[in-house]
Structures are given as structure tokens and as C-alpha cells.
């Protein structure tokens, strides 16, 4: 800690920071544009100028940019110095010279950092009368709307897009007062992180094109904290609603998870909530009480029931289904192979031989081994974190050798240039992360496992040796092992994408070997879906058993909770289960299961539901209702509670819904694996102000008019007994309830940048405690250096099938995930599907790129017609099918044949 003097007042502050971030952490207003807590300082906008004095006797001082001024003991600065005030006002004036001042028609208006800062600089009178500069805008695709006239050239967009996220189709173009930020030619932005431009841009240059289609001013939105449903990472989001429509998703800061950013699947995949295919009413159409009675009678009369849970349903819903049908009748509803692998990840985390990493920790790791994951497609934000991890080593070197602080981004990039720390990747097919990899290997899963085992063996000879490895793989294993050993914080990334137990075991072995060598190693395993881990923690039975029971006629009722089963297992398995006499389904959207159901009940989507999901690292996170469900929808766990009550007490009147809090108590009591799940967020009345937390801003308009068309009397405020959040403007947001904050706002800070005031220190954790509760993944049992359990012997190598091919999956960020694919913007971004074939297999087939072929997967009634794509590096005998396309489950592999196309 050092002492600095700001306008004569002494402050004890942390060393090694710059003055601007220090002021923001202290809650002192200094306006800024180009600085960003994650992108750091470049000194471009000159808005954060203050006066610095040499010592106590210096009365003249000099203007410095606070973002570029390192805090030092005894430092004396003035923010209120007249010259500094005048200069900052002047910067505001310059920035507004060409700004169109079109706030009334700008989507950013009301949450615009430029508005806030100009008010802060006190520039309020326009002295120039010259015409303003204008630009031609570009069509940047379905996600981002561009309005360049508003640009103030802070360079944050290009610094995020190119420098931070590694995009290469966006740049600063032209020069002087006509610098343009965009693509060389109009066209869809290719980066899967493009949506962050919306929040990076301090004004309305880059805005959300999907939001524009149903735009509402920020202050008229009703908001609540939510969790992304797009993949297993569980990024934190703010979901926003008006008039029963979900309007947009924005980033919600979680220091351990997504930090400041979201991927495009997560940001733009929300429109599924408003989709036409949503189920709003009971099918076949009937009243609520009748439906409940029918459900209860189905349950009462069933001799043998099968419960199909879901990796996209909350812990609460899965739990209550399990309780309703009994542990022995509860199935995960995913392909048995996927389920077994997720369970293995679960058990590895539970063993806790090695700490698992949060995304935030991944950014701090300085050597990485990625085994069988294609991060940008299976867990996009992981890729963004890995992009920061490869900078760790060279940035640390520049800091150590030249004393350049990490926040001096421009200087850091001058020194670091394109240098990257070690990252080794082995995958079935070429992936985008190969481009930042020290070396990338493309092999069949078995051979990836052998490579990884060889790495483990070099690190710790106690790990099994791999015989007969080819020279290239052996050499690479050696260099990867040395890089991991030389690192301070090595990281092993793997997951379930390749559906290979061998890869998973080998990855765990590498991590354990590093641990045995006393390295501070981290491991990270990607799992398939939002709540795959939470589901695995409920120990479901393997699906095969259900298929068998159903096939043998040993079940007469199947209850499916939020699962389009046909997407998650083979056609024949799904068919067997869905053919059972009685089918009771709860789901959000119309699908094959709801269509065939005896009774389909509308389940509320994430935006109309409260509940808990567990992410890939075992982090329980709570999401909250943003709005009341439309129609008769409610959370599946609420439906289940109502059946449950009836089931337990015969013909007694159904016990009305318990609260989420009470349910969580029961979960904790009944299932020790979930001990601590309540800590994910405070419950109603706990830790929150008595008045509740308003979902609406205090500027919310039309409160009394919104419902006037139906009823002129003032609308009753819905109670939400499941959280301290209220559907109201009344109450108070307390930053200390970090998991409950419905938006970031403090007086004078109307944009996302208000986040600064919700953190312990800028860039650091949120005040209060970090939202979520880690249930798994921290080493608890095995100490460093203790005997590591390795597989007895190295896995065998890949052997090509004698006939036909093995169909595997290539992951797809857009179109590969069930719910987001139902959103128009995401669907528009989905690439045309293809079947990937190795070069020599393609030659043997005599097929060129783009030629149509028929792929017949064993056990499927219909062949898939797809264009062929030659994939360099793909092992012969393996073909790749697009995740999620025509119900091809990413959780499967299956024998397949390729037949000549009909064109």
C-alpha cells in the first residue's frame, strides 16, 4: 500500500496500479473513454487528465493522463485543478464536434457512457457551427448495427476485437478526423465475440441489432440476474423484458466466470424465449386444474414410471423429478456414452486431486495443454480466456525484464508483439485455437489419448509409458511436457466433446502428473450443456436401462422434463422411450416429445424461471425470473411440486407451491452433493433489504398504463416468493447482494461502466461476495506429491473400422446448441452443414469439396444428405457430422456409411 494525495486528501491505495483505476476504485469521478478495466490504458482519448505535482512545494504542476500515471508513494494530484477541469471540458468539446447528438433516436441513449462523461466534464454549450463529419455505415451481419457518425474514436472496439479477442476482419481504417472502425468491406463480423462491441463502445456506434427489432429504452426494461443457457460455462447475464417479450441479454460481471464478456451465442441466443414455437398453454388444450388432475391420475395409475431428466433443466426440476419417480427410475435423458463421460468428469472433480480452474484463473495460466476440445464451438468463452493465457508468459517477461506494468497496454504490446506462451492442442480436426498454439496435433481420439499419456509419462515416469508412438507425436509430447513443467501455472483443458473416455483419463493423468511434480496445476473440463454437471450430481441411471424397460413393455408412464430426447440420443432409443403408453412432458418449446405427449405442460424458459444450474467446474449459480411467464407456463419444478404433493398424500388437496428457498433446503438435506447450493444467491428476506430489490428502474415509465387496455385499475404487483426481487420500481439495490443485482446503475453512471462501482476494486470481484457457490473441483483429499493414480497402462491406438466409417461430431457455436438455434439471429449465423471426410477417404470416394453425399448412420431410418468437405488432418475412417443438425446428437458416435449423392 502507498499513500497518495488527491486534492490534498490522503488515500491509502494499492501499488502497481494507474491513477485512473485507483480513482475509480475509490469511487472518485474521473471521466474516461479509451481505458477499460480489461483492455487497460493506451492514453488515446486524453479525457482522464489530472494535474500532477512534483512535491508539496510544486504549485505549477503539469497535466498528466491519469490512465498512464502509475501511483507512487507520496504522489500528489489534483482533479479539481482549474487547468485540468478546463482541459477535460475541452476534450469533451472536441469529442462532441462531430458527434451527431442524435440521442433521441439512438439505441444507446439513456445508457450511454458518452452522455455520462460529457455531463461529467461539464461541456454543455456548443461553440462550433461547422458541418459535421459523416460516414457510410456497413452492414455487419445479424448481430451488430453500426452507426459510425456517432463515433468518438476511442479505439476500444478495435482493441477488443483484434487485440483481445484475436479477430482479424475488423480494423481502424483511414486516418485523421475520419478514422473508421469496421471491416474492409461490409459483411458479417466473423468473430464469435463480436457482440461485446456493443458494450465496449462508449456510445451508439455498435448496438444490438436483435434488440433494435423490439427496442425499449433501458429505463423501461424490467431486468433480473440470469445465467446463460448456451453452454456448460454458465456465464452470468442480465436478461431484460418489456411487455412480455425478452428484449436482450447483457453481460453480468462475474469475476470467476465470464468477467466482462459474453460470446455471441450467449448474447444473441435469447430470442428463443419469444419464439412462435414456445408452448404457452397445456396440450391438448385444457384448464390448469383439469391438467393437474390428469397428471396426477397418470402418476397414480402408473405401475412403472420412467423419469427423463435433462441437462438443460435446473437442479430443482431434475431433483423433484427424481423424487417423484424415485432414484431407480430417474434417467439423465442423454446418450449413455455422454452420460458416462460427464459422470467421469464429475468424479474427477469430486476426487479433487487437482484444483479445477475458473475462467478467470485460466487467464492467469502460463502454459496450456488442450486435449480434444474445440473451445470456440463447445465453450466459446474458454477460447477467449485461453487467448489471454497465451499472453501471460510474454507479458510477465516484459514486466519482469523492463518493468512495464501490465496496465500499460500499448507499451506491453510494443514489447510482446506476437510472442505467445506455450499452448499445445490435440484435436480430431483443425480448430481455431490452432492459430495461437505452439503446436497443434490432429489425431483420432485414441491417439490423442496416447499423446497425452506420453506427456504425462515425460512429466512423471510413474505414469504409463506409451509404446510405439510415432516420432512427431513423441517429440511433441516431450516439448509439451517440458513447457508445462517450466510453467508457474500449467493448465490442462479437456472435456466430453470427443466422447472419449481415454482422452479424459489421459488429460486427468497429465494434471495429476504435474501435481505429483508439485506444480500449481489447474484442470478444466468442458461438459456438454448448461446443467450437465448438476444433472450428473443427481446420479441418474444410464439411459440404456430405460430403453430396455420401455422396449420390454415394463413401463407405462414416461415423464420428460425439458428434454427433446431425439436430439440427445439415437433415434431408436428415443423412439423406444417415447412410444411408452403414457407420455407426460413439461417443456418450453414444441418438439417431438411434446407433440406425442398425452399431456404436455408449458414450462417457463430461463427468463420466466428461477432456479439453479451447476456449471462445468461445479459452480452452482442461480438465475431469476425476469418476468412472469405468459399463459399457464411455470417452472417445471413447480409443476412437479404440484404432482408430488398429490402423489404423497393420496387424494388430499394439493399442497400449494413451496418456495425455492424451502426446496433448496430439502435438496441440501437429501443430497449431500449439493451441500452449499443455497449459497449461490441469497434467498427471499435473507441478506437483502426488507423492501426487496426492484426489477424495474426508478425511471420505469407506464407502470399504471401498461395494462390499461385490459383493466383500468392499477395492476397488482406479482409476488415472487422465490427471491428478494420484486416486479416493482420500489426497493433498493444493494451492491453487497451481488448475486441479486438486476442492473448496474449509480447516479451519474448510466452505462455498463457503472459496474466499476459494484466491484471491490476495479477489475476485481464484486462487492459482497462473488455470485455462485463452488460445489466441486477444489482439492480436498489428495495433497501435493501424494501417489497419483494413473491408468494401469497406456491406451491402445486408433484402429480404423473394417467397413464404413465412425461418425463423430464437429461442434458448432451457431446452430449446434438446441435453444439458441431457435433464435433467428443465431440461425442466420449458422454455417451451412457438411460432412467432414479425411483427404484420402475423400479421394477413395472420388468426391470433391461441396459434392453432395448421403450419410447413412446405423440404426437411423433416414439417410442424411450433406455436402462433403475434405478435412485436412482428420483420421481416415472417421467422418464428422454437424452438432445439432437433423437431431445429430453431439453426444454420440455411431457407425455410418457414405452413399453416392442423388445429384
Amino acid at each position: 500500500m502507498v499513500t497518495i494525495y488527491i486534492d490534498g486528501v490522503a488515500f491509502e491505495v494499492a501499488e502497481g496500479k494507474n491513477l485512473l483505476e485507483t480513482c475509480q476504485s475509490l469511487g472518485i469521478n474521473v471521466p474516461y473513454f479509451c481505458w477499460h478495466p480489461k483492455l487497460h490504458s493506451v492514453g488515446a482519448c486524453r479525457q482522464c487528465a489530472v494535474k500532477q505535482f512534483r512535491d508539496q512545494n510544486d504549485t505549477r504542476g503539469r497535466i498528466v493522463m491519469s490512465c498512464m500515471a502509475p501511483v507512487a508513494d507520496g504522489m500528489r494530484v489534483s482533479i479539481t485543478d482549474p487547468e485540468a477541469v478546463a482541459f477535460r471540458k475541452g476534450v469533451g468539446e472536441w469529442l462532441m464536434l462531430n458527434h451527431p447528438h442524435d440521442c433521441p433516436i439512438c439505441d444507446e441513449g439513456g445508457e450511454c457512457h458518452l452522455q455520462d462523461m460529457i455531463v461529467m466534464t461539464r461541456h454543455n454549450y456548443r461553440r462550433t457551427t461547422f458541418p459535421k463529419r459523416t460516414y457510410n455505415n456497413q452492414n455487419l451481419g445479424p448481430f451488430i448495427h453500426q452507426e459510425m457518425n456517432r463515433c468518438i474514436q476511442c479505439y476500444r472496439c478495435v482493441r477488443f476485437y483484434k487485440d483481445y479477442a484475436g479477430g482479424d476482419d475488423f480494423d481502424a481504417l483511414s486516418s485523421h478526423d475520419s478514422v473508421f472502425f469496421g471491416r474492409e468491406k461490409p459483411g458479417t463480423l466473423e468473430s464469435p465475440f463480436s457482440g461485446n462491441l456493443i458494450e465496449m463502445c462508449p456510445t451508439g456506434v455498435f448496438t444490438d441489432k436483435t434488440y433494435k427489432q423490439h427496442y425499449i429504452r433501458k429505463w423501461d426494461l424490467q431486468q433480473a440476474p440470469s445465467i446463460c443457457t448456451g453452454c456448460s460455462l454458465g456465464c452470468n447475464t442480465f436478461a431484460a423484458e418489456r411487455y412480455g417479450t425478452l428484449r436482450r441479454i447483457r453481460n453480468r460481471f462475474n469475476h470467476e466466470v465470464n468477467g466482462y464478456f459474453l460470446c455471441d451465442r450467449g448474447r444473441f441466443g435469447y430470442e428463443q424465449v419469444n419464439a412462435e414455437t414456445r408452448i404457452r398453454n397445456i396440450q391438448p388444450e385444457t384448464g390448469r386444474e383439469e391438467a393437474l388432475e390428469k397428471a396426477r391420475s397418470l402418476i397414480r395409475n402408473a405401475a412403472s414410471v420412467i423419469g427423463i431428466g435433462s441437462p438443460r433443466a435446473s437442479v430443482e426440476s431434475n431433483f423433484l423429478l427424481r423424487r417423484l419417480v424415485g432414484q431407480e427410475n430417474f434417467y439423465a435423458g442423454v446418450d449413455p456414452r455422454e452420460e458416462a463421460l460427464v459422470e467421469r468428469v464429475h468424479s474427477i472433480l469430486e476426487e479433487g486431486a487437482v484444483d479445477s480452474a475458473s475462467l478467470q484463473e485460466i487467464e492467469q495460466c502460463d502454459a496450456v495443454l488442450v486435449l480434444g476440445e474445440d473451445p470456440v464451438n463447445s465453450a466459446p468463452m474458454l477460447e477467449l480466456a485461453l487467448r489471454q493465457a497465451v499472453r501471460r508468459a510474454p507479458v510477465g517477461e516484459a514486466r519482469g525484464r523492463l518493468g512495464i506494468p501490465e496496465w500499460d497496454d500499448k507499451a506491453q504490446r510494443v514489447v510482446v508483439q506476437k510472442a505467445k506462451g506455450p499452448l499445445y492442442s490435440a484435436n480430431l480436426y483443425p480448430i481455431s485455437i490452432d492459430r495461437i498454439a505452439t503446436a497443434a496435433l490432429h489425431r483420432a481420439p485414441e491417439d490423442i489419448a496416447r499423446f497425452a499419456t506420453a506427456v504425462a509419462h515425460v512429466i512423471d515416469p510413474a505414469a504409463p509409458a506409451v509404446e510405439g508412438l510415432d516420432e512427431e507425436t513423441a517429440a511433441l509430447a516431450g516439448s509439451a511436457a517440458r513447457a508445462l513443467l517450466a510453467a508457474e501455472k500449467p493448465l490442462v483443458v479437456s472435456g466430453t466433446s470427443l466422447l472419449s473416455e481415454a482422452v479424459l483419463e489421459a488429460a486427468a493423468a497429465v494434471a495429476r502428473a504435474l501435481r505429483a511434480r508439485d506444480k500449481e496445476v489447474r484442470q478444466f473440463f468442458v461438459v456438454p450443456e448448461q446443467n450437465s454437471m448438476g444433472l450428473a450430481m443427481l446420479s441418474p441411471r444410464p439411459l440404456g436401462e430405460a430403453v430396455e424397460r420401455a422396449g420390454a413393455g415394463k413401463a407405462d408412464l414416461v415423464i420428460v422434463v425439458e428434454n427433446d430426447l431425439a436430439r440427445r440420443c439415437s433415434e431408436s432409443d428415443a423412439e423406444a422411450i417415447l412410444s411408452v403408453a403414457n407420455l407426460l412432458v413439461m417443456d418450453t418449446h414444441q418438439n417431438a416429445a411434446t407433440d406425442r405427449a398425452e399431456l404436455a405442460l408449458p414450462a417457463s424458459s430461463f427468463a420466466e424461471a428461477s432456479g439453479t444450474v451447476v456449471n462445468n467446474e461445479g459452480r452452482a449459480q442461480r438465475f431469476f425470473r425476469v418476468m412472469e411467464p405468459l399463459g399457464l407456463a411455470q417452472e417445471s419444478w413447480k409443476w412437479l411440486q404440484e404432482f408430488d404433493a398429490a402423489g404423497n398424500s393420496g387424494n388430499a388437496p394439493p399442497q400449494l407451491a413451496r418456495t425455492l428457498d424451502a426446496l433448496l433446503d430439502e435438496i441440501e438435506a437429501e443430497e449431500p452433493a449439493f451441500a452449499g447450493i443455497k449459497r449461490a444467491a441469497p434467498g427471499p428476506g435473507r441478506g437483502a433489504p426488507a423492501a426487496g430489490i426492484p426489477r424495474q428502474s426508478f425511471r420505469y415509465s407506464g407502470r399504471t398504463a401498461i395494462h390499461a387496455a385490459e383493466d383500468i385499475r392499477e395492476h397488482r404487483v406479482h409476488d415472487d416468493s422465490d427471491s428478494p426481487l420484486r416486479y416493482s420500481m420500489e426497493g433498493r439495490v444493494d451492491p453487497a447482494d451481488a448475486a441479486l443485482v438486476p442492473e448496474y446503475w449509480v447516479p451519474g453512471w448510466n452505462s455498463v461502466q457503472a459496474l466499476n462501482r459494484f466491484q471491490e476494486e476495479v477489475g476485481g470481484p464484486l462487492r459482497g461476495s462473488n455470485p455462485g457457490a463452488l460445489l466441486l473441483g477444489r482439492s480436498r483429499k489428495v495433497g501435493a506429491g501424494s501417489a497419483a493414480a494413473y491408468p494401469a497402462k497406456a491406451p491402445g491406438g486408433y484402429v480404423r473400422r473394417k467397413e464404413g466409417y465412425l461418425a463423430c461430431t464437429y461442434q458448432r457455436i451457431f446452430g449446434g446448441e438446441e435453444l439458441s438455434s431457435r433464435s433467428a439471429a443465431i440461425a442466420a449465423r449458422a454455417e451451412d452443414p457438411y460432412v467432414g471426410v479425411s483427404l484420402s477417404d475423400a479421394d477413395a470416394l472420388g468426391r470433391r469439396d461441396g459434392e453432395m453425399v448421403m450419410v447413412r448412420v446405423e440404426g437411423e431410418s433416414k439417410a442424411r444428405k450433406l455436402p462433403l468437405k475434405r478435412i485436412e488432418g482428420l483420421a481416415d475412417g472417421i467422418i464428422l457430422l454437424p452438432a445439432g443438425f437433423e437431431n445429430w446428437s453431439a453426444g454420440r458416435t455411431a457407425p455410418a456409411r457414405i452413399e453416392p449423392g442423388d445429384e
Binding site: C45, W94, F130, Q153, D408, V414
Partner: protein, 426 residues
């Protein structure tokens, strides 16, 4: 004092480039040869330090000191770079062009000496895009030098090797700023960099790099050959050497002359440039190029060197003067300069990107007779708002220099435009 014109005396009167043979006949490559045979790099550095050679690109930083501030090769093994800055785009300045066109081998020899001194592995000559002739002649000279083994592996049979590359600028004034030049060479936008790290520590591709002006480098072989005492004795003042002085404007003989440091403004304009054209009288002068403050009548006897010009309230700059006569409008004059600088802004920092175009528009509005007192006030206000430390680099402060001194010396002219609602000179 020694009367000599080491930089230019060997040049051909017809203005063609000296060939390698001609250059060698005039004593060329003798210094480099001797240096590589007899001297250690540190000795070259101390020689240039002792000579007190100051950077001829405008900032006047001590060349030997700059060299000595590069990271020692032992600490940071790998490539090291020397860059000759031939991106001469300062308004009114054409001295480097003269040196590159007239005697390109002198530059190459200077680069060999400087590169050796800093143990550079590679050197670059970065030349302004519109200097077609200079580019052509320098490229030819590089080829000649390579053919003779004066560049490349084991120069003159010594252990020292140097690869010399030519790079043409894409045409931005800001590329003359050394860190922007480095960015441009890397293929990035020519945006200046913050210091530290200085290029000597982390320059081109993050490696230790020295950027020297063409004229600076041309002086080096002569210092190596004749020693620091000789170099200091070339000057009339404490700051050693000769300097290429230039004069443009309504004078009888605009041009360039190699003169001792410390030659007065009066002597340069009224003797070497032949004085003002008939019917015109002297009103002011930008002594060091377009981005320096006006000096006026009272300053004419100032000896031209870094120290004395600074004392007079301007900058020595490139020592190529632009003369303002009594029949040119100072408002339009400054407006033209401002327009140039506004257009050449890289667009990185706000004061330069947004401020300069505003000032240019205001100046032209006043010049058209459509300005107001408030416009003049805005101009005046900007002379303190746009200054070193408030901007990212020195471009915008340089643009402010002619404006602020014009407001000091020619304020009446601005007021007359406003009062008469027309340009008094039109």
C-alpha cells in the same frame, strides 16, 4: 574554426548522384573501412558523443547518447536494428532529399558506422513516398554497395555483417515520428508509441532499435574520420558541426546551403538566399520548418543552433526556414499549415484528431472575412490546450507553434480580418 562543408562538398555540380567510384575517389568508405579494422563499437559511440552531434531531424537529441541507451547486445541477444529516417515531410524542408539524391553512399557509410556502433544486425532506410528520385538513387547505391561487398556478410573483410533494406513510406507525415515510423515498418498503423519503453530497448518488432535522421547519419563518417575536435571546430557556437540550412519563401535565391552551426538568420536569408524579392519585405520566419514558432525582425541576428533559437522563442527544428513577407496573409499562411497538420494527424488522440481540423476551419473562416472575435479567442485558447503532455505525441504541439506565435506577433492581422470582414491582402 575550420571552414569546411563535409556533407556536400563532394557532390556533383550537375545534381546527379555520386556513384560508388566517385564517392570512394572523394574519400568515401575510408572511415567505415578504418572503423571496422581498428575500432570497437564503444569507441565509435564515445567518438560521436564527444563530437556532441545532435539529431538533425528536429528534436536535437544527442546522437551518441541515444546510441548508448540501447540495451546492451549481451543482455538481449537477437536482432538489433538501425533505421535511417528519410521520411522528410516537414513543410518547407528538403535537406534530406538533397543528401540522399546527391550522395547516397555517404548515407550508407554513415549507416554502416552507426549500425556497427550499436551492433545492429539489420538496417532500414525509410524514405518518404513522393521522394521518387531519392528512393531510386538510394536503392541503386545499396545495390552497388552490396555488389562490392560493402554491405552484407563480413563487410570489408571484417567480422561485422549488416543487411541494409530499403522501405518506401506509404505517405504520412506522422511516419517521420520515430515510433510511428517503427509501427509503419512493422506493417501496423503509423500511430506513435508511448515511451518508455524507448526504441533503444524495445523498438522494431520489440527489439532494440535506433532511429536516426538521414543528415545525422551523413555526419557520422566524417566524425569517425576526422575526430570530435574537428567536428566541434566546424561550428561557430558550442553546438558542433555544419548544418544544411534552407530558405523558402519570397527570397531572391531560395535553396540549401551547408553552413557552420551558428550562422545567423540574417546571414542565411539576406546573404545566402539573396534577401527578399524586390517589392517584398521581411515580416517573419519559421526558422526550423512548418512546426516551429515565428521569429521576427528582432531575432534576425540570432545564431542558428538549438540553444540560441530556443532562447529566442522558437525551435531550431530542421533549420529550413520559411519566410513570411509583408504581402502574404499570416492568417491564411497559418491556416494552410494547420490544414496540413490536421490532415496528417494519425487520428489517435483527441486534441490532434478533433482539435486541429477545428482550428484549420476557424483560420480559414477568419481568412475569408467571416470570422469573429470569439473565433480568435477559441484559437488563442487552444494554444495552451494543445501542448506537450496534453497530446499523445509532438505533432499537434508542433502545429500549434506557428499559430501561437502568429497570435503573438500578428494579432492585429487577425483582428483586421474580423473588423473588415475580408482578408486585407486579397
Amino acid at each position: 574554426m575550420i571552414e569546411a562543408r563535409p556533407l556536400t562538398e563532394a557532390m556533383r555540380p550537375d545534381g546527379l548522384a555520386l556513384s560508388l567510384e566517385e564517392y570512394e575517389k572523394a574519400g568515401g568508405y575510408r572511415a567505415a573501412r578504418k572503423m571496422l579494422k581498428e575500432m570497437a563499437p564503444e569507441e565509435v559511440v564515445s567518438l560521436v558523443k564527444d563530437a556532441g552531434l545532435m539529431g538533425r531531424g528536429g528534436a536535437g537529441f544527442l546522437t551518441g547518447l541515444k546510441w548508448s541507451l540501447t540495451s546492451p547486445a549481451g543482455e538481449s541477444p537477437g536482432p538489433r536494428f538501425l533505421i535511417a529516417n528519410g521520411d522528410e515531410m516537414e513543410p518547407g524542408t528538403f535537406k534530406d532529399r538533397y543528401l540522399m539524391e546527391g550522395n547516397p553512399h555517404q548515407l550508407i557509410e554513415g549507416m554502416i558506422c552507426a549500425a556497427f556502433a550499436i551492433r545492429a544486425t539489420d538496417a532500414f532506410i525509410f524514405i518518404r513516398d513522393h521522394y521518387f528520385e531519392a528512393q531510386e538513387r538510394v536503392r541503386r547505391a545499396i545495390a552497388e554497395a552490396y555488389a562490392k561487398g560493402y554491405l552484407g556478410k563480413r563487410i570489408f573483410g571484417s567480422d561485422y555483417s549488416l543487411e541494409l533494406h530499403f522501405h518506401g513510406s506509404a505517405g504520412r507525415y506522422i511516419c517521420g515520428e520515430e515510433t510511428a515510423l517503427i509501427s509503419a515498418l512493422e506493417g501496423a498503423r503509423p500511430v506513435p508509441r508511448s515511451k518508455p519503453p524507448f526504441p533503444g530497448v524495445a523498438g522494431l518488432f520489440g527489439r532494440p532499435t535506433v532511429v536516426n535522421n538521414v543528415e545525422t547519419l551523413c555526419n557520422v563518417p566524417h566524425i569517425v574520420e576526422n575526430g570530435p575536435v574537428w567536428f566541434r571546430d566546424l561550428s561557430r557556437t558550442a553546438q558542433g558541426g555544419t548544418k544544411i540550412f534552407g530558405v523558402s519563401g519570397r527570397v531572391k535565391k531560395p535553396g540549401l546551403w551547408e553552413l557552420p552551426m551558428g550562422t545567423t538568420i540574417r546571414e542565411t536569408i539576406f546573404e545566402h538566399a539573396g534577401g527578399m524579392l524586390d517589392g517584398y519585405s521581411f515580416r517573419g520566419v519559421l526558422p526550423g520548418g512548418g512546426s516551429t514558432d515565428f521569429l521576427v525582425e528582432q531575432h534576425l541576428d540570432t545564431p542558428m543552433d538549438y540553444e540560441n533559437i530556443q532562447k529566442a522563442g522558437s525551435r531550431f527544428g530542421t533549420a529550413t526556414m520559411i519566410v513570411l513577407d509583408d504581402r502574404a496573409c499570416p492568417v491564411g499562411f497559418v491556416g494552410n499549415l494547420m490544414k496540413f497538420f490536421a490532415q496528417q494527424s494519425c487520428g489517435w488522440c483527441t486534441p490532434c484528431r478533433e482539435g486541429l481540423p477545428w482550428l484549420a476551419r476557424l483560420l480559414f473562416r477568419i481568412d475569408r472575412g467571416e470570422g469573429s472575435e470569439e473565433d480568435i479567442e477559441i484559437l488563442a485558447e487552444h494554444t495552451s490546450k494543445i501542448w506537450i503532455g496534453k497530446t499523445y505525441c509532438a505533432l499537434a504541439p508542433g502545429a500549434i507553434e506557428p499559430l501561437q506565435s502568429a497570435l503573438t506577433y500578428f494579432r492585429d492581422d487577425f483582428t483586421q480580418h474580423v473588423q473588415q470582414k475580408r482578408c486585407p491582402w486579397s
